[in-house]
Symmetry: C2
Subunit: 514 residues, 2 copies
């Protein structure tokens, strides 16, 4: 795998001490690369450079020691813990929803983490996780790149029917923007779409959840990429203008968010247009009913980057809408002006970050897969900066997680959700009453200690989806007609819904019952 | 991965021309290694040596061209072929069973391949395949290394209930003989057995199948290893005496077959003792009833080696018992005297071999996993030789298989069964009426062309066997009590059966009903 030539930069804040630190890092880099060891191979130079760099940045990339944990009796764990509920009773947070939605930037709610906020963060994280769990990754499937279930079945099929939300629209993005490795494509000639990937969805709180959380909450969940190595390299070192001011965002993210083409089935309009049309429709619908409305956008990894672009657009377009972003393991997206404009627009961003995850350091670092190490990516050219408030987690805090370097594991969304569930404060140990099912961590990685006896990467279909037919032959079953994506149905429904003022779901149910 | 230092030798027959060829190979080897390129690295020398060697041996390791195939309309294939039966109606072969069982070494039955014999070869191959399909490979399972189902459910669970046989006994072998990588072991402290692996089973034809095939057929199926790289290296270059004559067999195979230890649960007696006790019991049981009895031993890879040792012992021990071996991709096992004694004992061996599979060249060649190439293994020290009649298959004959090197695919038993099903003669193309389900080939490898849309390595449990319990937690379910191995039950049954002259199954049913 060729090394990327992306830029390096680190600007978590603009305070002077950090700037000095940055200068020191670069000083060190040049010293080592140019002066100390001019004859060594690039990889050696970059490697030692990376070590120093990691150290200075407190990346904690070394194998962390197992510290400060309560001892677990694994036998008892098996017997007792497995018969307990995985969630706590839901509290009514209607009186405090603005706090949870960051009216004051989550001040005083993060360290220690307020239990109500913890539950809300996990709720939104599970919306993002659903975009992975339902995605058709099978390149031999004609539906590769789509969602395996229609939007009415999504939460129920994934065991999330208790979350109090209904999906109102699926979002598609062009899959062949300039970053060919980002999205999935079928190997087959005949597919549901040659051009698009399912990229997320819009959902809205039902009446009961609305009462509990004090407002009608519209959620947008953006799908990311699973392994960090899939897309680091494709990050291009090009910032493009967004909006009318100086704000700029990374070209690749922006391209994915805004690309469209008339000849496609699912991207005659861009992801941006699709999501904004639906959010606008829902805001108008519920505002007409006199309800208070909020927008919460979530995403993991690449999805976190799209969430930020989406938040920028929504806050710019829809007046007086409280917009927050809860992102997990998201990379940097834009320049300082982008961050400042988001701030001025009132967008509140909570960036959940695992200390050992490298993706939040992108663009700026690149992961060299063959060497299994980090490398910095060229000279400083543009300035990428993070946005919002950070909730920092540490894999070393959990007694359930293996020690040792594990890049995919550190970046996995399920690892994030596990650590949020166990987080009390930066100074305390893993929460003993944490109830989320620990086994979920290993769905798509290998992070759990052997004592738990949970196989790694266990989230898989029986026989990769093949079934034995009546003749004894193993075949790929036809997908349920109701689960086959259909852009026309989706368009019709929206037209109907807008015209008739009906709820989208009601219209679809009418259509399907014909 | 360190290179093995095993010996090389190639003696498919003892005819003079082959001996000359062998000398030439060795001459070439020395020339290249010692004289031509004394300064190059070992891997380079061995590599070029291997190329010449492969060429001389007609190993056909080069990427084979797609030749001589009938064109397939993949769309039609999908529509039509998937609605046809996977087997042909069974013919009554009672009058000809001795021919099928090699009374005349399968002369005139192999090229072209007699359809009745083809069906019998596949039947026995599927017995061997069952030892893989039912094996618990999960190192996080306390039952790792056992069979996942009890013997009464084995064929039914695997969709083989129509094969006309009943399993009468499971065979276990010591898992920590001198070759640590051969067998599977649980990572857990508490397991069903720290010492043993399920290594195969004994089955016997039921009355209906007995009528069809003209005799009561006892089958022994030996489990092998899945990937060739797992055990090449562990083959030791030591021949050990077997029996009272000059016959010698490879130390590792023999050790696996004969090891036992009083402190174990499943190997107080060796695999050899277990299988011989059961076979002897069955032979006596049916001979007392005046029936004609045959023994057919089958196995793939390592299992093929064990089959040969087992055949040697059975033919030496039980007088006048027709014994044949049908092996798939089996390595060489013993010296020339071993082969000659087997011949004198009247053991008939059909070795099914894929031209491109490297395992049948073992011991003698070793597969260097990191370099993905073959290397020869030191100087000639002992002489390993193949036994019996060869049925040679060619991956290039099947239009369903991908071109390109694929070591695991070339060695996979399902690839063997597919090619047997399609084999007509060495001079003709793949059999168009072949009915076996082509999808099976990809169960544990990646050999099928993309047009078939069959995922690779698709044979897998849903969520690796985890299930969601009533509390919403993903757990490893308890194994059905009836599927938990129990040496005592097995011992008791045999004692009872022998004492009371009852059928084993009847006794077990009595015990289970208590």
């Amino acid at each position: 795998m060729a090394l990327s030539t992306m830029i390096y930069n680190h600007l978590p804040t603009t305070s002077q001490p950090i700037m000095n630190k940055l200068s020191k890092i670069h000083g060190l880099a040049h010293q080592q690369v140019v002066l100390d060891r001019p004859q060594t191979k690039t990889s050696n130079r970059v490697s030692s450079l990376t070590e120093s760099l990691s150290h200075l940045l407190h990346l904690h990339l070394e194998t962390p020691p197992r510290t400060n944990i309560h001892q677990i009796n694994w036998n008892l764990y098996g017997e007792e813990k497995l018969s307990t509920p995985t969630t706590s009773p839901k509290e009514v947070i209607a009186q405090n929803w603005q706090d949870m939605h960051a009216s004051s930037n989550w001040e005083s709610l993060l360290d220690p983490l307020h239990p109500w906020l913890r539950r809300e963060i996990i709720k939104y994280g599970e919306f993002a996780q659903a975009t992975y769990d339902a995605f058709d990754f099978d390149s031999h499937s004609e539906y590769c790149g789509s969602c395996r279930y229609n939007r009415h079945k999504l939460f129920e099929t994934l065991g999330l029917s208790g979350n109090g939300y209904k999906v109102s629209k699926y979002i598609y993005a062009m899959s062949h923007v300039n970053m060919p490795q980002w999205l999935e494509r079928s190997k087959l000639a005949e597919t549901w779409s040659k051009d698009s990937n399912w990229m997320g969805y819009v959902a809205v709180s039902d009446d009961e959840e609305t009462r509990r959380i004090g407002r009608r909450d519209i959620v947008v969940a953006w799908r990311g990429t699973v392994a960090p190595t899939e897309w680091y390299e494709d990050l291009q070192r090009k910032l493009e203008p967004i909006g009318h001011g100086d704000a700029k965002a990374e070209h690749g993210f922006l391209s994915l968010y805004t690309s469209k083409k008339d000849s496609t089935r699912y991207n005659k309009s861009s992801a941006s247009e699709q999501v904004m049309k639906e959010v606008t429709r829902l805001v108008e619908l519920y505002r007409e009913k006199g309800e208070e409305v909020s927008l919460t956008i979530t995403g993991h990894s690449l999805g976190g980057a799209l969430a930020l672009l989406n938040a920028y657009e929504a806050a710019s377009t829809i007046p007086n809408l409280p917009v927050s972003v809860i992102s997990f393991g998201a990379p940097r997206v834009g320049n300082i002006a982008f961050r400042d404009e988001l701030h001025q627009l009132g967008v509140k961003t909570l960036r959940v970050v695992i200390k050992q995850d490298v993706v939040p350091w992108m663009p700026g670092l690149v992961f060299n897969e063959s060497l299994q190490k980090l490398e910095i990516t060229g000279t400083l050219g543009w300035v990428y900066t993070h946005v919002g408030t950070e909730l920092k987690l540490d894999v070393r805090s959990s007694p359930y997680l293996k020690r040792g370097l594990n890049w995919p594991g550190f970046h996995s969304l399920e690892t994030y959700l596990h650590l949020v569930d166990g987080f009390v404060s930066t100074s305390s140990t893993f929460r003993e009453e944490a109830r989320r099912d620990v086994a979920l961590v290993n769905k798509a990685c290998d992070m759990l200690v052997d004592e738990l006896r949970i196989p790694h990467c266990w989230y898989q279909l029986p026989n990769k989806g093949l079934v034995c037919n009546a003749h004894g032959r193993w075949v790929k079953p036809k997908r349920d007609p109701e689960d086959i994506p259909s852009p026309h149905m989706q368009e019709n429904i929206n037209v109907h819904a807008l015209e008739a003022g009906m709820q989208t779901q009601d219209v679809l149910e009418t259509l399907l019952s014909v």
